[in-house]
């Protein structure tokens, strides 16, 4: 391929017939002349450039970025300025000169990934310039966010200290609400999987197709990374964000930060020492504490999602059991679901209404166990079999067989249901309660946001039947079925995989 420099345009004349002259033209009041000189200098091999070229070009970019250059002819050539800035950025980048960080941060990063990568490679040296760009140029903010993300990229070697890293995270967070597309790009650039719950919320709350596509792409990359990341690393990532959000915290927020830091530190220690159960309990308590802080105004909605949803997600990575609980007396208490294992010695129980095979053998509800908002976090992809203990409300019903059905709901919408037919051998004696399991078939995965979504489990029963719907023997009616739960010996539960 043959390329040759074209003859000089007439307006450059003989003054631009050598590199030194081209350098002098960089101070021309005409943007057209400057643009031409930049391109011609960019075509000269580095070794042949005059020493003055580098500072002149670096200075020019900075002056362009700060409005210290004349623009008498930009409006006449509406495309000239934009393409000139691309050329100027590209040419300055050839030098890999840290002195160019201000011009690149204020202007260059809006034009190229190479500029973003170079600024990011400078680490803490570039933070002041990026802060200036953030403050003075609103149009540059999305590019600043992405550059900060590149600074945190796993492959980046820029010597960021831990406190610098937290400072970068805090800066990114400052733009999270206003620039969802840039946030998604930033998250991808830095593999910020801790942002998954926040990104998921954006997809559910922002109907703009471009936002949806951008965030969807980020989630498609980050969710598998999150799922594949060891719990200890997820805990470390969550801690980075907590520390970032707590930078310069004051009053109630400072207290909350101290409390949460201690809690998270404990959980991480428990993970490290292979105590998944206690670690899970600690993380769930952490999430509840963030819920409280959110209600008190200590945390914003986004911070609430970031901290609580990730803690709960991590909790479910360590253990999948969800237990049936009762609040109040032993008989027919208020029903609840929790990840905390029962500790009581006396089981609680819930009775169904009377049952009869007549009139179509309808299902009747034993009860619905409901979680607090936010129990589930992440994508619910599987439910393990529910295990409960069954007895009779009245000894007259001995010899009655029962069908048992369990339905899982998200915010009142059915997610999955399973049933076990013709359970026999149920007695009145609580000590002889029968353990029964009901498996869930595969279902369409559904997302829980970790802060507001409610998981509930409804248990139903009817007179026992065969697979064809005929009675499977025994009595055709019953006073009621009794379900035992919430005791060390009656840990009614099911498993949820998020």
């Amino acid at each position: 391929m043959i390329w040759g420099l074209a003859p000089l345009p007439a307006y450059l004349g003989a003054q631009a017939d050598n590199p030194d002259s081209l350098v002098r033209l960089l101070t021309s009041p005409s943007v057209g002349v400057r643009a031409d000189a930049v391109v011609r200098l960019s075509l000269i091999p580095m070794a042949q450039l005059p020493v003055a070229a580098r500072p002149a070009l670096v200075s020019l970019l900075e002056r362009e970025a700060t409005g210290q250059v004349a623009y008498p002819d930009t409006t006449a050539r509406y495309e000239t300025y934009g393409e000139y800035i691309i050329d100027l950025t590209r040419t300055v980048l050839r030098f890999h000169d840290p002195a160019s960080v201000r011009g690149l941060s204020l202007l260059g990063i809006q034009t190229s990934r190479a500029a973003q990568e170079f600024v990011a490679s400078l680490g803490s040296q570039s933070l002041a310039a990026l802060d200036e760009a953030w403050t003075t140029k609103r149009s540059a903010r999305p590019s600043v966010l992405v550059t900060l993300g590149r600074m945190l990229a796993p492959q980046q070697v820029n010597g960021l200290s831990e406190s610098d890293r937290q400072g970068v995270l805090k800066r990114i967070w400052a733009g999270a609400d206003s620039f969802p597309i840039a946030l998604a790009t930033t998250a991808r650039a830095a593999s910020l999987f801790i942002l998954v719950p926040v990104l998921r919320h954006i997809t559910s709350s922002d109907s703009d197709p471009s936002v949806g596509a951008s965030v969807g792409r980020a989630l498609a990359e980050l969710q598998p990374k999150l799922d594949a990341t060891p719990p200890a690393t997820v805990g470390s990532g969550l801690n980075d964000w907590l520390q970032a959000l707590c930078l310069a915290a004051q009053s109630a927020r400072s207290s909350a930060c101290t409390s949460l830091s201690g809690s998270l530190s404990s959980a991480r220690g428990q993970i490290t020492t292979n105590q998944p159960g206690p670690a899970r309990d600690t993380l769930m308590a952490f999430g509840a504490r963030v819920d409280t802080g959110f209600q008190q105004g200590v945390w914003t909605d986004g911070e609430h999602r970031l901290l609580a949803a990730n803690a709960r997600y991590l909790g479910f990575r360590l253990g999948s059991a969800i237990f049936f609980h009762g609040i109040g007396g032993n008989a027919n208490p208020t029903l609840a679901l929790s990840t905390v294992a029962p500790a009581g010695t006396t089981a609680k129980y819930q009775d169904s209404p009377a049952l009869a095979f007549a009139n179509g053998d309808p299902w009747v509800a034993v009860g619905t166990w409901t979680s607090l908002p936010g129990l589930g976090s992440g994508i619910l992809s599987a439910l393990g079999a529910a295990q409960v203990w069954l007895g009779l409300k009245n000894s007259d019903d001995i010899g009655t067989n029962f069908d048992l059905r369990v339905e899982a709901y998200k915010n009142g919408t059915l997610v999955a249901a399973g049933q076990t037919l013709c359970v026999q051998g149920i007695t009145r004696n609580a000590d002889l309660a029968k353990a029964v399991t009901v498996a869930f078939p595969p279902f369409t995965a559904t997302t829980f946001d970790g802060v507001a979504d409610v998981l509930s489990l409804k248990v139903l029963t009817r007179i026992g039947t065969t697979a064809t719907g005929a009675a499977c023997g025994g009595h055709s009616n019953a006073v009621g079925l009794r379900l035992y739960f919430d005791a060390v010996s009656r840990k009614a539960q099911f498993a949820a995989t998020f």
Binding site: M1, I2, W3, G4, L5, A6, P7, L8, P9, A10, L12, G32, A35, D36, V39, R40, L43, G67, Y71, T74, T75, A76, R77, Y78, E79, T80, Y81, G82, E83, Y84, I85, I86, D87, T89, R90, L107, Q110, T111, S112, R113, A114, Q116, T136, K137, R138, S139, P142, V146, F179, I181, A182, T185, D208, S210, V211, A213, S214
Partner: protein, 296 residues
């Protein structure tokens, strides 16, 4: 009496005998250095070689070449300051000022009025005082060199693309049937299209020859559009003159997403918005995303 001996390429001339004389004059060659005898004003491509066969041989130094304008092509093709002399001669095609090119796109679509062209005739005066003339040969730029001549005359900083880079291509929004083909750009562009799928990209402008770039669309003088290394991509929704805020936000989101996707695919982009403190700075605006690669 008239005889012809045309050879297929057209570079070997014929013979015109003006009178019965002992002297004969045949135009052997009149051609530029490029394939097909084409040429440009670019150094290395701007020498028109002339060769005549004359008898008696001692008249060789007396051969004078008449270089005339050719009204069927660009009529003011720059002629040499003095007629070339000798049976083996040449002349240099002088570079013209850029003002000769049609400023109107429709006029620029006609090739012939833009092609540099010369009517070349060899003449000699024999010993009897009779003037002998060869047949006249046209030396004309082909389409590719006419297009390349624009780079020369407009002084496009990044230089003149080689002839082999030109060919027919879908992305040609210029004034010629051929455009610069740039596989490097195409490779990146395919990557961008894949990243953007299942949506599709609407390309508003891709290749522009320099005249089209400078005068028909007010492009940047050094624009990479002239090397098919740049493209303008439409954003959606297409905004009315006075868009509503939701319309504007939607277009800005589209722009932002396309920009990020293009940057990830290795393209450089124009900034979208002018700096409020320096409003006279031009920028791409939200209507399109200008992407480019340094692919030359």
């Amino acid at each position: 009496m008239f005889a012809q001996s045309w050879v297929g390429s057209g570079f070997v001339g014929g013979e015109v005998e003006i009178s019965h004389s002992a002297a004969t004059l045949t135009l052997v060659k009149a051609q530029g250095p490029n394939p097909g005898g084409s040429f440009t004003a670019k150094p290395g491509e701007n020498q028109i070689a002339l060769q005549a066969h004359v008898t008696p041989v001692n008249l060789s130094s007396a051969v004078t070449w008449r270089i005339e304008e050719d009204p069927s092509h660009y009529p003011l093709s720059p002629r040499p300051p003095s007629p070339p002399q000798g049976a083996d001669a040449s002349f240099t095609v002088q570079r013209l000022a850029p003002g000769r090119w049609p400023a109107v796109h429709a006029a620029s679509l006609q090739l012939e009025p833009k092609e540099l062209s010369y009517k070349v005739t060899a003449t000699v005066t024999d010993g009897t005082g009779l003037v002998k003339e060869s047949e006249t040969k046209l030396v004309t730029q082909d389409e590719i060199d006419t297009e390349r001549e624009e780079y020369v005359e407009l002084g496009v900083s990044r230089g003149v693309p080689a002839r082999g880079m030109f060919g027919a291509h879908f992305g040609n929004s210029g004034d010629y049937r051929v455009a610069v083909i740039n596989p490097s750009f195409d490779g990146s562009f395919v990557a961008l299209e894949l990243a953007w799928s299942p949506s599709t990209l609407q390309v508003n402008s891709l290749y522009r020859n320099p005249v089209h770039n400078r005068w028909h669309v007010s492009g940047a003088a050094n624009s990479l559009h002239q090397y098919r290394c740049a493209a303008d991509l439409q954003t959606f929704p297409v905004l009315p003159v006075f868009p509503t805020l939701p319309e504007l936000q939607k277009a800005q989101n589209y722009w932002d997403l396309l920009r990020d996707t293009a940057v990830d695919a290795g393209f450089d982009v124009e900034q979208r918005d002018p700096d409020p403190a320096i409003p006279q700075q031009a920028s791409s605006g939200v209507g399109h995303v200008h992407i480019e690669t340094e692919c030359i």
